[in-house]
Amino acid sequence: MSARTDFSRDKAFLIDMTKCTGCRGCQVACKQWNQLKAENTTFFTGEGYQNPPAMSEHTFTRIKFRDYQKNGQNEFAFYKEMCMHCNDPACASVCPVGAFQKTAEGPVVYLDDKCIGCRFCMIACPFGVPKYEWSKAFPLVRKCTGCYSRVQEGLKPACATTCPTAITYGPREEMIKEAERRLAAHPDRYLQKVYGKEEAGGTSVIYLTALPFDELGFKPVTMRALPSYTWQALRLVPGIFLTVGGTLSAVSWFQHRKEKVKQAETESKGAACCAAAEAAETSKEDHQ
């Protein structure tokens, strides 16, 4: 859970999928800037024209293709898959060593020198972004860095720089305003929704599309920030710890006290039992 509540000045991507031509310059730029290996793939092993078939340790972003019919014409729709750089990232909240951080500039970065490799981030991420170096003996997680090193120097991320048409990069507040302006100006061209404004508690990647989001392969996600789901249980931890400890201590004290009282009662029952008690005592000692 992030301490910040205001994300309006975070740098965000506005990705207008209706303007995407599917040139995949972003994929290439991403590989170049991050020095990622090429993948040996076979065409059509995935769902459609897209290649590689999925994001991986070597592919941080990818254009997904979807062909559909419009007015009897075959058309393509695209979707750029990448890290969503959530305002309150699930990966950062579940990491036991804090290897994920939401930076003040906006990108969610992964500190690979901290990671212990538990892969909880991969379970937690609602967008399936963190990928693992499965081929290595001591693997690490890989994911889109939001080109944090470029952003720190005042540059735009590699994919946003390369994209000739679809990606705008700037403060989140302004990107949302721009998205809403476009929706209002061309209601016929867009589905009336800004994806990323509320999804997973708000993200720094904002999409506009013409087709319904699920048809493009966007995952259905909750509108609540994910860390709040686990925090509502975890915040009770200190209280439960002390309650259990206190209750059991009290029970233990009470039970032992009960027995001591009982013992004292039997002992005070008078001289009549004295001999018997003594006999019992001796036998006990013998036993020892």
Binding site: V94, V97, R119, M122, I123, P139, T222, L248, Q255
Partner: protein, 408 residues
């Protein structure tokens, strides 16, 4: 040289079942070596769709509640002070200690960077928002507590009087601490899956999951004690404890009842989305509830079954089956999305997990062989009685039967 011969001679004298267990553990050791040479991708069927597989679902998520016997019996015997249950405590602590140690081993195999596991302890890395952080801290702390409790029979074996006195005074604080730590991490294992909001099927996903994990760990822990005591009676020539176990079988249905109520409330009021839309998951759920919950619950309510030694074992086994299925449903089956490729562990993964289970039984048997974990010390329960061990003289100590290594 002679030491090696002693060991070899000793191993040769073992029962062939123990030798078979040693073989299984050796296989798992080979599998682990392969994992560290060729990586997780080459040795397991894990991939980016299934970052967690058998090693997490069984070796961690299931093994932790299966090792809950130590803390539950500790609470019942030491805190609620039901003294007659004392003979059950020590074997349960050994089972728990082994269980948690092997959880750590399993986790080390599964971690990508096992040598960095220690990073969790460094305060500058602490992330209190992470359920994994909490569980790792608790597991480390509790394994330490179990180790200290396990030192009890070890100290008796070697006649270490001062540690013994100390441990004896710490018995109740340790039992309380064990329950505190266990409550946290048993429930937090459920919190793990609260983050999988749109991934885990609504049959299992609900905000009460941590409470359910905790309650099911309690009654499973007690069932494990029944299983362990029954098997030890059957195969290791220990006395029949079914009278003592009948006390446990009177406690279990209460906890199971609470669990079932929480599960029902959670399902009816807190679950979101279609519950019975996927036949396979529905079947798994029905089997889990009917065979692993309702049936043993009913069995434990029958006084005839509750007190019968073989029926106790059967009912306890059903409870354990139900828990294993529940943890797999939550951590594996329920997480599979429709249309997704199905994960199944490969041979190597399975060999390692089988080896871990075998190691548990093997080490238990060996500990029972060399340490006094079954010797009943009813007088050792009462903390008001002065420490007898301090008064044991050298001569008397020699008279205490200890396993002597035979001459080669």
């Amino acid at each position: 040289m002679t030491a090696a011969r002693y060991v070899l001679h000793e191993i040769q004298s073992y029962h062939r079942f123990i030798k078979f267990l040693i073989f299984l553990v050796a296989l798992a050791a080979v599998g682990s070596t392969i994992r560290f040479i060729f990586g997780l991708g080459a040795t397991t069927n894990l991939n980016d769709t299934y970052p967690w597989g058998l090693w997490i679902s069984f070796d961690v998520v299931t093994a932790v509640p299966l090792a809950a016997g130590a803390f539950t019996i500790g609470v019942v015997a030491h805190i609620f002070h039901i003294k007659k249950l004392e003979p059950l405590v020590r074997p349960a602590i050994v089972t728990g200690f082994l269980g948690y140690s092997l959880v750590c081993v399993g986790l080390m195999l599964d971690l990508g960077q096992p040598h960095r596991g220690i990073y969790v302890l460094f305060p500058w890395n602490w992330n209190v928002h992470s359920p994994m952080f909490e569980v790792s801290m608790c597991v480390m702390a509790y394994t330490t507590v179990l180790f200290l409790e396990f030192l009890h029979p070890v100290s008796e074996r070697f006649g270490w009087h001062i540690p013994l006195r100390l441990l004896r005074n710490l018995q109740i604080p340790f039992a309380i601490l064990a329950a505190m730590i266990s409550t946290l991490h048993q429930s937090t294992l459920g919190t793990f899956f609260l983050i999988a909001v749109d991934k885990l099927h609504p049959l299992w996903y609900n905000p009460l999951l941590p409470l359910q994990f905790w309650l099911s760990a309690i009654f499973t822990g007690l069932s494990i004690v029944i299983l362990e005591a029954s098997l030890v009676h059957r195969f290791m020539g220990q006395p029949n404890e079914s009278d003592l176990l009948a006390t446990l079988t009177r406690i279990i249905p209460w906890v199971m009842g609470c669990y079932m109520m929480v599960k029902l409330v959670a399902l009816l009021t807190f679950s979101e989305g279609a519950l019975f839309d996927r036949p396979v998951l529905t079947t798994l759920f029905v089997v889990e509830v009917a065979v692993g919950l309702l049936l043993p619950f009913w069995m434990f309510l029958q006084s005839r079954i509750r007190t019968d030694k073989s029926m106790q074992l059967r009912a306890a086994s059903l409870v354990i089956f139900g828990l294993v299925l529940n943890r797999f449903n939550v951590s594996m089956f329920g997480m599979i999305q429709p249309g997704q490729q199905i994960y199944a562990p490969n041979v190597l993964e399975s060999v390692v997990t089988v080896g871990i289970i075998a190691a548990h039984i093997l080490f238990f048997v060996l500990m029972a062989k060399y340490f006094p974990i079954f010797e009943h010390h009813p007088e050792a329960v009462d903390a008001t009685i002065p420490d007898t061990f301090r008064r044991v003289g050298k001569e008397e100590l020699k008279a205490i039967p200890v396993t002597v290594l035979p001459d080669p």
